[in-house]
């Protein structure tokens, strides 16, 4: 293969002299390698066949994971991106292949996950003719992509791919889709060697930092008596965990996390006061409405975090650090906007803030935590009798993993319980669908998470409902021998909707009663070991067996059918109206 030569001779190639004539498909694959891609999640089909044909020769350099549904490819790419910090890559064919990507694109868009999806498209001369497997992928995906582009000529591929990776991974990251017509995949073009993109004239990944706002923010923080930090995924996306830790430790400010911010500092850190939002911790919610300065870092005031907006932190001065200018003042009016990459703004702020402790204020959080423990948590994680609870499973899991595992969750009650009670020592270890709330996310995302963090234990915690949305990915786990541990917390209900129906719809259980197959037998049919348990005294051993097992394992745990996740901020209520039961 002469393509190998191209990689070596990159500098020569950049002298604008064509070193080879390659097909569009080969140019694409060379580009992926040059971008440092090692894993692709995909599914072949008619319109992407030339790329798959080329891939046949690149098998030694690009690992391709054959999924069982294109949606699975997107979630796997998301899981990969979240654990590795790299861009997730997806291949899919035109028409139904591409439309199956929509859910994952929307999820990645709202959760700012860097992803590049390559879709095949019908021949350029057939565009708009209702050709076989033709859909208007660009227009369908426009609202759910950071950027998208249709390539109809092989000569465009290199530049567009470089732009795609640049846009997906910089600034506020997000999904990018490149649609390539079949003729462009086949067509020969002169190849000059791959050049990464580092500038797009109309795109500014980072807003310029204004020192005056940093100074104003520091002044507010230094004067504050009850400052409170809210942190989100922006810290992880900006690789600013150390900078963040330095900031909170110097300023001594109690800090609470959004669901995607979990792990930015360890769960056990003395200044980590817990989770925000609808099913977050008691203190962080109540005290949001008591603090005098609210410092939001890399989070976007989602409605699940704020509850009723007109009763949200009205007493507080708000400092908002974000890389995305569109987030400032979107939901909560800011007193001081600190635009910019928090990796740069946090150290500037840390330098200006005074070394302080806020013992009395921090104690308030601890008092609320104690109240929450007594009235709510203890019964959930240490029940002595009755059916198993989800919380005790997670609690036992913590003791076995010591908080070092990557926990991938689906959506619903088990997700809230897992995020509340799982211990996260490390960054990038809580993988969940936050903004979109995509049921079916966890199983494929766990596959990707394992490829992104091969040295970590990856444990997927999934409900009986969500598991049945993407269970075909057991086939991927089987074929690619992906070492993921799957815990199904089976309450035989679509639990979160049931909880709402119980609390707000008078227990009118409308279509939340869901039956399941024999999950263990199902796993077995995919040659995946597993077992089902329902007794308290089995939990620890079963979890240990699962973790020690070589290769994938499925553990189904029957839990209490009608258990509710508390605390809860009912919809339409203020965060200070959070209920403990």
């Amino acid at each position: 293969m002469d393509t190998l030569e191209i990689q070596k001779d990159k500098t020569d190639a950049q002298q604008a002299k064509a070193v080879a004539t390659l097909t569009g498909s080969q140019i694409l694959l060379n580009g992926l390698i040059a971008e440092g891609v090692d894993t692709i999640f995909g599914y072949p089909g008619g319109a992407i066949m030339p790329i798959y044909d080329a891939l046949y020769d690149y098998n030694d350099r690009l690992k391709h994971i054959l999924v069982r549904h294109e949606q699975g490819a997107t979630h796997a790419a998301q899981g990969y991106a979240r654990t590795s910090g790299k861009v997730g890559v997806v291949f899919a064919t035109s028409g139904p292949g591409a439309t199956n990507l929509i859910t994952g694109l929307a999820d990645a868009q709202i959760d700012s996950t860097p992803m590049v999806c390559i879709t095949g498209q019908v021949f350029a001369h057939l565009l708009g003719t209702d050709a076989f497997q033709e859909t208007d992928v660009i227009n369908i995906t426009t609202p759910v992509t950071k950027w998208n582009y249709q390539v109809t000529d092989a000569s465009e591929i290199e530049e567009v791919l470089a732009k795609a990776f640049y846009i997906a991974s910089t600034g506020r990251p997000g999904p990018v889709l490149v649609d390539i017509t079949k003729n462009a995949q086949i067509q020969m073009a002169e190849y000059f060697g791959y050049q990464k993109c580092d500038h797009v004239r109309s795109y500014k990944p980072k807003p310029e930092i204004r020192k005056s706002y940093i100074e104003q923010a520091a002044e507010l923080i230094n004067k504050a008596e009850k400052p409170f930090v809210l942190f989100g995924q922006g810290i992880l996306l900006g690789n600013a965990e150390q900078e963040f830790k330095a900031f909170v430790e110097k300023s001594g400010i109690p800090s609470a996390w959004t669901i995607l911010g979990a792990g930015a500092i360890p769960t056990d850190h003395p200044l980590n006061v817990g989770m925000l939002g609808m099913h977050g911790n008691y203190g962080p919610n109540v005290l949001t409405n008591e603090c005098d300065v609210l410092i939001a870092i890399g989070m976007r005031f989602d409605d699940r975090v704020t509850g009723r907006l007109d009763k949200y932190a009205k007493q507080a001065k708000v400092i908002h650090l974000d890389i995305d200018p569109a987030e400032i003042d979107k939901n909560v009016k800011t007193t001081v906007p600190v635009w910019g990459d928090c990796k740069e703004t946090l150290p500037m702020l840390t330098e200006l803030v005074q070394q302080k402790t806020h013992d009395a204020w921090l104690q308030k959080f601890r008092d609320f935590a104690q109240q929450e423990m007594d009235q709510c948590i203890d019964a959930e994680i240490n029940p002595k009798e009755g059916e198993l609870s989800m919380g005790e499973v997670i609690n036992q899991l913590n003791q076995l993993t010591n908080g070092d595992a990557v926990i991938v969750t689906d959506v619903g009650q088990h997700q809230m319980v897992a995020c509340r009670y799982a211990k996260f020592n490390n960054t990038r270890s809580n993988i969940t669908s936050g903004g979109l709330g995509t049921m079916g996310f966890a199983l494929p995302a766990a596959i990707g998470a394992k490829f992104g963090a091969p040295d970590k234990d990856v444990v997927a915690v999934i409900g009986d409902g969500g598991f049945q949305m993407t269970l075909q990915e057991l086939g991927t786990i089987m074929q690619s021998k992906v070492d993921v541990k799957i815990i199904i917390l089976n309450n035989q209900f679509l639990g979160m909707v049931r909880q709402w129906q119980e609390l707000f719809n008078d227990k009118r259980y409308s279509f939340v009663d869901i039956t399941s197959p024999d999950f263990v037998a199902l796993a077995k049919s995919y040659y995946i070991d597993g077992q089902r348990i329902s007794e308290r005294n089995q939990v620890k051993d079963a979890l240990a067996t699962m973790l020690e097992h070589k290769g994938p394992y499925l553990l189904e745990i029957m839990v209490k059918k009608e258990n509710n996740v508390f605390p809860m901020v009912p919809q339409g209520c203020s965060v200070s109206e959070i209920r403990l039961k």
Binding site: N148, V200, R201, P325
Partner: protein
């Protein structure tokens, strides 16, 4: 604060790259929020290769500001401004088709047209097409008048607007092309005026 609460006409000026699909990307930012675009014009700008959208919506300042931010976030959008009618010079063009015999018979029509600054574009035996340029009320007024004389067809163009305070886009584009852009490019008119909008 009042301007934030009261709805009024805003002229949104969007400087963009020339890219297929961008019109859709821009349009869905409005439709997703159920905002009605009252007028949309795309044209070249004073800078070669840079396109300019003029969009008119009636909304509160707060909604318009958020939309402007979302627009500017799009990869191929270079810069977005929003202005009230007082801050721009704006024009719309209208065409009116009326029966020639009526015009020929009634001298008053000609006088009327002159009063409204209209001019004939085409004169045929069967019909005549007039053109008038001005503000909405002006072109509307002429419709009313011509109805009496058998107005056959009427059409009005989208609004084009020039920002009174703008120095044009040449210098801005230079900043965009630099790797390390200055304050102005990175944003933003709103930040500069922030003190007027919010107080600490």
């Amino acid at each position: 604060m009042e301007s934030q609460i009261e709805k009024q006409e805003y002229n949104i000026t969007v400087y963009t790259e020339n890219q297929i699909g961008l019109l859709n990307r821009i349009a869905i930012i409005f439709s997703r929020r159920k905002l009605n675009i009252e007028s949309l014009n795309t044209s070249p700008s004073e800078v070669n290769g840079i396109h300019r959208f003029n969009i008119v919506i009636t909304e509160t300042e707060e909604v318009v500001r958020k939309v402007a931010r979302q627009l500017e976030k799009q990869i191929e959008v270079l810069k977005v401004y929003y202005n009230t009618n007082a801050d721009v010079i704006w024009q719309e063009m209208a065409l009116y088709k009326v029966p020639t015999d009526v015009i020929a018979e009634q001298v008053s029509v000609e006088r009327l047209l002159r009063e409204h600054g209209a001019r004939a574009v085409v004169i045929r035996n069967d019909y005549t097409v007039f053109e008038a340029t001005g503000h909405r009320e002006e072109t509307d007024k002429l419709v009313e008048v011509l109805q009496q004389y058998g107005l056959i067809e009427f059409v009005r163009s989208a609004r084009v607007a020039i920002i009174k305070a703008s120095d044009g886009f040449h210098s801005k584009l230079k900043e965009f092309e630099q790797r390390e852009p200055g304050d102005e490019v990175v944003e933003n008119q709103y930040l500069n005026n922030r003190d007027k909008v919010f107080t600490m």
